[in-house]
Symmetry: C2
Subunit: 351 residues, 2 copies
């Protein structure tokens, strides 16, 4: 080791799902939307005035925060935006979780949470999901320096009700409570209405899943004005200009085409429900996913074996080699055609 290396931060980074470059694959491993973004996105990209790129962008990303505020019926000072919800969540960890007490999140959940906690030296405690792999909100009544969980949870896909989230907020007035709603549009009630009563709630969403824009990198948070102002202060202590003008315009255009959004989301929900029936027929077990993926296990075939066989067929799904979930596969809902190919293979394999 060189002398200078002793002062270097050594971390174990998050490992995202593979992004294979081949085009002849069925990619059901990173919860991307199988449908392209709204055609309005193409128009707005073609409208870019490239000459304007010589100037710094609007640091407040007003065109996007205003579009989000208007869409969700909040004020623009209640909106924070970042480079994907990972940027928003990481910035939220750094901003709100400055206590000596542990931050609470589920033991089986989005695996970036403990990475951020480690990065920023934030103490944390994992709260086990119950026997049905559900979040039991009563477990979030112990002393803590903050609370975060996804709703619906990932990779289980299981949701809690707004009433249950309100119980967490009621029990924790001294903590910031972050609800990570990356998958909320696929059939879960958002916690947004609770903002009227609780100014310690932060709701985080993304354009990467339901809005088919994983590539453009937009995430956002909605909270009380006070809460959001702290987040902007930390952001502006890190990088004043994050989203470029093409990105903010694309985001705003996508929000305007609500018909397209609702249609593609409803197609994914239909495919998901049909897929549940087909998984069931094949003997798979799974919870009632409200996300754009299903988390399945099979009593007879080890998940890892199936994962590898699927990969050989150029069907990519997600396998996590981790406690409690190492016999499960997280399978993103693709197009009907992609799911047919998957089920054709599974039917052959399991018969």
């Amino acid at each position: 080791m060189n002398l200078w290396e002793k002062n270097v931060r050594k971390v174990v980074p998050y490992v995202p799902g593979e992004q294979p470059k081949a085009s002849n694959i069925i990619k059901l491993n990173t919860n991307e939307n199988p449908y392209p973004p709204s055609p309005e996105v193409e128009k707005i990209i073609n409208d870019t005035d490239y000459k304007n790129l010589r100037k710094y962008p609007d640091p407040n990303c007003s065109c996007l925060t205003e579009a989000i505020a208007s869409y969700y019926g909040v004020e623009k000072e209640q909106v924070f935006v970042g480079t994907g919800s990972d940027d928003v969540l990481a910035t939220a960890f750094l901003t709100y979780f400055c206590s000596e007490k542990p931050v609470l999140f589920p033991d089986v959940t989005y695996s970036f949470y403990d990475v951020w906690a480690e990065l920023y030296d934030i103490p944390y405690r994992k709260i086990p999901l119950d026997g049905d792999m559900k979040i039991n909100v009563d477990d979030y009544r112990c002393e803590n320096g903050g609370i975060i969980f996804p709703n619906p949870n990932a990779p289980t896909g299981l949701a809690v009700s707004t009433g249950e989230i309100e119980e967490v907020l009621k029990a924790n007035p001294s903590s910031v409570v972050i609800i990570d709603e990356a998958y909320v549009d696929f059939g879960t009630q958002s916690a947004l209405p609770l903002l009227e009563k609780y100014d310690n709630l932060l709701v985080v969403q993304t354009f990467s899943k339901s809005r088919s824009l994983a590539g453009i990198r937009i995430g956002f948070a909605i909270g009380s004005k006070k809460m959001i102002s702290y987040l902007w202060a930390v952001r502006n202590s890190f990088n004043s200009y994050t989203l470029n003008p093409i990105t903010t315009a694309v985001g705003a255009a996508s929000l305007e085409d609500d018909g397209y959004f609702k249609e593609t989301v409803s197609r994914i929900i239909s495919t998901r429900e049909r897929s549940k029936e087909r998984f069931k027929k094949l003997g798979f077990e799974f919870g009632d996913s409200k996300a754009n993926f299903i988390f399945v296990t099979h009593p007879k075939v080890p998940a890892k074996e199936l994962f590898e066989k699927l990969r050989k067929e150029n069907i990519f799904v997600r396998y996590f080699d981790r406690d409690r979930i190492n016999n499960y596969l997280r399978i993103t809902i693709g197009t009907d055609e992609e799911m047919d190919t998957l089920f054709d293979f599974l039917t052959k394999e399991l018969s």
Copy 2:
């Protein structure tokens, strides 16, 4: 104060130069390039396959890191990219400056350095510039947990030689030394050749100034493979996907059009040298700037007064209300036409 606020990180953010939205202004306040980006940028934006945005981008930004590596004659594992050089520098602070000893930087320099140090609780010590507002490299021999300065320095525009930087590296084998070369293309020698001998050197550059792409948000760092791998590990512990595919393609296209780059940079240098003569005739005092701005003071007219008068004329320059420099203006080099308007006003005002 609400109960939850006591655990919130409270910071004083960096304040960027104004980004007024009016179009009839002369904007010489944020060191943007007065010329648009290469026309190749327009082509590559129009080539965007918007449908592809449904998928996550390449987390390694390979098309951009490879283009940078090839342009600068290094290997792609020696290149890190981020959302502007602010993102790269902030990530570098978090990665490399984990000592109890203070990080050293000049007292008059880029004002984001102490903001990052405060954000991440990094101890730091400001080393005063000498009486001519120059960096004296002998001052960087004391015990430290890292060193960073811009070359040329901002807002002075004054450069040190590669030999002087080598002295800093020789004296500090236990520290990471970051040279922030945001303005290097306007006439300073880069420290890049020193990478062959020093694996504790990190050179940071940006597409925002010489490449006319402040709007697109690209910064990069070049260092030893080991150094760069630590930076990617921290990046991937924060956000796996930062640059979208439009951004990386724009960056790569800009690097390919080297003729355009060299021509616009040389125009800015010519305008700067002519501007120096005109400032001198008007009685201004200033150092020998090697950047795309000049840092001027006038023995008879207070800088703040001039700043406000210029603003009324819709000419925006930068004034810093800070120790040692509160009688200076940092004036970005615009087009010849913009500079004519500036000097017409100054001539009237000072006669």
